[in-house]
Amino acid sequence: MVYATDNETLEEMLAQYQELIAHGQERPLSADEAQRLFATFSSLVRRFKRVARVSDKYQEQLKSMLARLDSNLAGATFLSGTLHICAACKKLQTDDGNWKQFEQYISERSGTFFSHGLCPKCAAHVEGSEITAETVPEYLPLQIAEADMEDMVIVRYMHLFTNNFYERSELYQELRDLFARYLHQSRRLRRIARISDNYQIELRKLSEQMTLASRTDSLTGINNRGYFLELLTNEIERSERHGYTFSFAILDFDHFKEVNDTYGHATGDAVLQAFVDVFRECQMRQYDFWGRLGGEEFGLVLPDTPQQLALNPTERIRKCQAESSINYQGHDITVTVSIGISQYVPGDTVETLLQRADQALYTAKREGRNRVCLG
């Protein structure tokens, strides 16, 4: 069975129904029609997300609608005859054709549609049992906030509940309840979106932290081996593509094992951490990058730089390190570095670059340490 799923279908239904009324063939809503009405309502709820911001134009429409309603109200004063309202239940009396007369008059002069169904009391009477509401919280009095006006459906129907003109109509209470639920759902949807956004921001922050952590060496806070080699691989690809070259240096501390053995590992760690500060003072170019390869060994890449030109900055690092010291229980400890450099040539891989830089480093160590050697 195909149910009404949008406003157009609903309006079609209403039109058909009005025609029935016009032909005096009015009847209570059938189960199918009621189902369709509820299907339509559910689809409206599902459409929350797609509801656009209320435009000024729409507000104008609303005003003109209210103006029309006013003029209809003015017209209603010409209704002839007497309307009998029960003093106790405030309902229009249907005897003597009063109700029909009233309905016809209103139908002809306005877009108001009369839906004939059973109210809970009458339905209970017919069914012989009380209708119990499902357990939903009681809603507060309808107060439309500015934020609610973002919802077109609310804007469209709120006027029904902001004046008491419709209060006496048969379906008012149910419609109001439906509207209150809609209002509640609309607000809840916005709230869920806000909550969801909050969690997503948290998740994103966490994911950024994790990415950063997965790339960072925990002792020195600079790139770890994995990420450094990833950047080196990118640099190889870039240089291959554009026909550039670059220099790759391995920086290795001299006699580092002795530092650890003599002063303890904590001091060794402090030397490595202090090296990061020394490196920063040497003011490398912004696109030079480095990382800790492991132990007391660091890697450095100088993009677009042949090894002859890499001598100067690496020599600066060596010299700065040789002139710096850290304090250990009143002693100044100085640990020097040896540096081996290789230059990228087409066809090089991470392994061959590491290999040649290692050889140059070996030469630097053999020649007395605390020096820079080219591969």
Binding site: T135, V136, P137, E138, R188, R191, I192, R194, I195, S196, N198, Y199, I201, E202, L203
Partner: protein
């Protein structure tokens, strides 16, 4: 009525609902592959429990992450508690947040605004 217990997993929280004491605990993260499927039996249990149980109910929430569907279901749970509260039952929620995490506290406030019964946001170190 039996208690309801589910071990915590990577994507689903610990569910420890005690039918005798009325202490209901949810802890962990919630992003099940199918949230509605995961929460359906829990919701059913809660519905039956609220219908049968007369005493005080306290829901302890220690959730650090809820996906959108879980958020919706949490609101359904709060609705059930609210309805029960409207009928005169003593209901409370204690929502635990990391003291440092302002966004988490803000989120807890959002949940709090949905209901009228006592909702305590407890900050933890």
């Amino acid at each position: 009525m039996d208690n309801f217990f589910l071990e915590q997993t990577n994507s689903t929280p610990l569910i420890d609902f005690n039918a005798v004491t009325g202490e209901l605990v949810m802890a962990g993260e919630s992003y099940p592959e199918n949230s509605f499927e995961f929460y359906q039996p829990i919701k059913s249990w809660l519905t039956v429990f609220l219908a049968q149980h007369q005493g005080r109910v306290c829901l302890h929430v220690r959730l650090t992450y809820l996906n959108t569907s879980s958020t919706k279901i949490m609101m359904d749970f709060l609705d059930l508690l609210e309805a029960s509260h409207q009928q005169g039952r003593a209901v409370a929620v204690i929502w635990y947040c990391d003291r440092e995490n302002e966004r988490a506290i803000e989120t807890a406030e959002e949940f709090k605004e949905e209901i009228t019964f006592p909702f305590d946001i407890t900050l933890e170190p």
